[in-house]
Symmetry: C3
Subunit: 458 residues, 3 copies
């Protein structure tokens, strides 16, 4: 069904106007609210008689940069595996994350560093905003190829708010521990995206199935994403923890967990294929599950053996999920999960939350000594027993699932609004709708932004 | 016109002999002049009773490494977008930067750390040398595909000297502030390269136009460069600042500015295209303008809102430049700017210099407190007013433009010397002239290093 | 010769079962032996009254992360140059290194941090394990494309042990200095791999020669590996040194050395080619020799001039090696060295060891002052003269060569066992045997894991 030229013209303006509108609003809010904190403000920093070497910058900036690489290179390239959707994968990652960083600085700032009418920012805001962008990109992975950039920006608008509220409830109200975000980032991002994808279900998606695979070099590009995520995950989980032994231990636990998820992924990938050959989809994704699964417990006294075991289990369930669960999710539950975020972030995130319940429940004054204060302050102060902390951890997982389902449903229903830039069923996983693509890569149908009515799909 | 075999043989020897000559000369100069400084010398470091944790290494090396990634991966891969010039883009970046690091260690050393007949080196020399290499690579971007490696090395020989003199005049003589190099690196490198390209103007360049575009995967390779530049730009601008709040604030400002230039680039790219589609050239380049534009003012009390505004403007003018100005520069002003460095480094650099004028002019003792000393030492000591500093900043921009124009012209005229390795008009943007290229990539004309006389083009 | 279905089925299970077995064994050994050290244990760290900023994490973790990038991205992508072996190059690097990190944590732990029945781990264990993985990957480079993952895992099992013993003999028993591993990593890894490859010599390998080259984009992928290795090598050599001036000086020396090896590689590559064109193989590999050659002497008072000279020589011999020696090694000595590790790691490693002999022999109390203790503790304590240290260094090289030859021979003979997953002579350098490869990349022969008997090759 052809669009009227006027409607097509209107649709062409959606993306630029939305970008400008969002940028205008965040800029105004920044002008009103955002201020340098005492570590980044010239006058405030020099008020105290502190040594420059005490500036938080030197303890967190290297970790921040590693996280930053993960968000933009890691997530961006991991999704380049699709043969004709590389520009969109890395480009929309870029756009979404850039917006999410600004918007989340405001949302998280209101919840975590709002004093006397202002939000105070420094390297910790940067890390937190990157974490929130990570959750948005996980959700993006579920709907990759099936949504336009306008839809994605609107999704991010909502998701960043829901993320901020959920994080506030867990960390500040419930006193839940979740430094590396097994719950707040991975579980939340995955189920938000999956529910979102469910609502936007396309029964006719097989029209685009021929573009859903990879080509040889797109798989190698995707490995750039995988490897950078794998390498820097120890920095991700340790970036926001207490300094000293906690940060050190978290990095070490994550490092071990990832080695184990890599070995179990290779084992399972060869085992479940008919002919003993390895599947790039598993290696690119499931090998990373070891980072997700210790997101909650990485800062705790998990022990190196515990880290290996956790990683091993995560790689195993993730690979099995890709092989057996993803097809069922699609056929039976009408959830089309392009990148398999349920396998990489959903199940390992939930497993990581349970692991956090277990390890928190086992915490003792003996095992943590005076370091208990840094990991479980409420237990150290005697306000909670370890068992009680475990119950709170479990409750945090439930809260996260509720926020993810409510947010994802809400987002999905809002974005079924027909005049957005959703591609038609036969134009999914195709860069040309949104990008000028160099000639050699021949177009199938030269109808940029002249998408089918999205309401005809519902 | 065929070359005589003897002349062709002579030309083949130019590159290796020049590399050996340059390496020999810098090695001799290193032997005579370069010494470990008090932070890298075993005896000197242990003379003072300092803690190892006070070594400058721990405050600057992580930032240095980020800068190092930008120079070699960032610039190298950003230029890989050309379909048949990837080996040269990344390879000549490698060669030029390696030479520039050595040569600039000497030139900058003479100006900045020459005491008692010796140049003393440590991590700050490494950062400064990388910065100078950055300027050379910006100029390389203007002439990419139209010059041979011998020409490029000779260009670098001259440019490093001009860069060093200009930087010395600005930072040491005029007391101009320019930590992230909006003037000394971006404006200088861009206009040096543009004037250089103007002098080497090729009226017959359309003979090679069919190779000037990208292919699908070369655009993805280029995005590796873009994303690494984008991620690490906060480290670039903050690498050489004072420690403590200044370094922290600079990173934060740059981070915000880049998010805004990304949003404005996506908005403008979709807006100026006929059909609402995004252009990879804009995303790959203009999104980075937010880093350039806060190169001068990033260390100042720009405010987060100021950073967003600056980035927004930079992304906007940069994208508009690619769309509207680059064709005019070529058709009217005979400036062929392969990578559009005028849009990414030139205009945003000049804008960044003006922003520095503004923010310096607004500096008050109240806003900076005791931190004023670290950003504007001359104002803090009462030797200058803020307004006077602003005038000096403006003067610094003028000086930079003069050095860039003089240097670029001089370089261009010297390199029109006919016996160098310039490709013929029909062999531009082609790796095969300089590289053994694997078979699958079929040659057009098997005449390596048998270039047309470059003097026939003048 | 066709395999029986039962044998083929058995062979398909080798890889998954071996992964599971190895993971099970290391997990059990971790449970029994591996414990957090006093920097990563909550209780232990808070026992002492130390500031969090003193935690080793802040001095070594950024360097560790750079090393981690080198191992997984650097080595992984460097080997992607083969046109049809990219999945295996980056994938088996991933698998081998992940296993080596676990296994080496145990082996090195027994030798270096075993107290009261436990191995204590922290960031230094992580660096050391990554170094050991580096040696394994160097050996992998020699046999790249000619061995299956089961063979490689078994090779790693043996090599990690031999590496650990050799390192212990050199560093702990002989008091040899080798921070960046010219001997323990590069010489050992290269000659282990070369001898291993010699024992597995395939006289019929020309059947696969048509796949031994690169294609245009595979060479660009390989440059990702090269550049990341080049950039981060200063961190590699300095990661395990004493803190303060030593770490700083090592990074600086390596930085200079690499610039010189780059210039000499470009010079020699153009010089030795018939037509003056550059060869990607040289640029991708020999330019890195400057990092290898200062692995031993980088922490010493080598002087910046010394670093340039060392790098220059290393780039030169490495490029000449690729051009003239590799063909002879194959034709006369029956050593098939896929990646030319003899040129990049072998000869520059040995040269680096000799350089260490020289610079150690020239050490004086005057040159090092009180810093002598950190570089040559035995000389500082008066237990050894500088000349005596030099002799020990030389002896260390001999020991390393013996361990490499014994280990490589042993490994090679064990892996000639016929029922492993070695590809047939006509299926070398081919991903499809081990990986599900997307369609576009057409199979030559659809016989995954149905390899010829490897005993028919001997």
């Amino acid at each position: 069904m052809a669009e009227s030229p006027r409607r097509a013209a209107g649709r062409r303006l959606q993306l630029p106007l939305l970008c400008l509108l969002f940028q205008g609003i965040t800029a105004i809010l920044f002008a009103i609210f955002v201020r340098y904190n005492h570590e980044t403000d010239a006058a405030a920093w020099h008020l105290g008689n502190r040594s420059n070497s005490d500036n938080e910058f030197y303890f967190r900036y290297p970790s921040f940069q590693d996280v930053h690489v993960m968000i933009f290179v890691g997530f961006g390239f991991l999704m380049v595996f699709l043969q004709r959707y590389g520009f969109s994968s890395v480009g929309f990652t870029f756009l979404l994350a850039a917006f999410a960083l600004q918007w989340s600085t405001l949302v998280q700032g209101f919840f975590h560093s709002f004093h006397h009418g202002h939000i105070y920012v420094g390297v910790e805001s940067m890390i937190n905003a990157d974490f929130c962008a990570g959750a948005v990109l996980i959700s993006f992975g579920a709907v990759l190829g099936k949504t336009g950039p306008v839809q994605l920006l609107l999704m991010a608008l909502l998701e960043v708010v829901m993320f901020g509220v959920n994080e506030f409830v867990l960390l500040s109200l419930l006193g839940v521990r979740d430094a590396g975000g097994s719950m707040t980032i991975h579980t939340f991002g995955a189920y938000f995206g999956l529910v979102f994808s469910r609502v936007l279900y396309r029964p006719q998606l097989e029209k685009s199935k021929h573009r859903q695979g990879s080509v040889y070099h797109s798989d190698l590009f995707a490995m750039i994403g995988t490897i950078f995520l794998w390498i820097f995950w120890p920095s991700f989980n340790s970036a926001p923890t207490s300094l000293g032994d906690v940060q050190h231990r978290t990095a070490l636990n994550t490092y071990y967990s990832l080695t184990a998820s890599t070995l179990s992924t290779f084992a399972l990938s060869a085992l479940v294929s008919g002919d003993g050959r390895l599947d790039m989809v598993h290696i690119q994704n499931a090998a990373l599950a070891g980072g997700v699964v210790v997101g909650t417990s990485g800062e705790m006294m998990l022990t190196p053996f515990g880290a290996l075991t956790a990683g091993f289990l995560a790689g195993t369930i993730s690979t099995l999920g890709y092989k057996f669960l993803t097809p069922i999710l699609e056929s039976k539950f009408k959830v089309e999960d392009t990148c398999g975020v349920h396998n990489l972030h959903g199940m390992p995130g939930v497993l990581g939350a349970f692991l956090g319940v277990l390890v928190a429940g086992l915490a003792t004054h003996e095992a943590y000594g005076d370091g208990l204060e840094n990991v479980f302050p409420l237990i150290a102060k005697g306000q909670r027993s370890a068992k009680s902390q475990a119950v709170y951890q479990l409750f945090g997982l439930s809260v996260t699932l509720v926020f993810a389902f409510v947010g994802g449903s809400l987002g999905g229903f809002l974005l079924r609004f027909p005049y957005l830039d959703s591609p038609s069923d036969s134009q999914c996983y195709e860069d040309q709708i949104y990008w000028e693509v160099p000639g050699q890569h021949e177009p199938e149908a030269q109808t940029p932004l002249n998408m089918e009515e999205s309401d005809t799909r519902a």
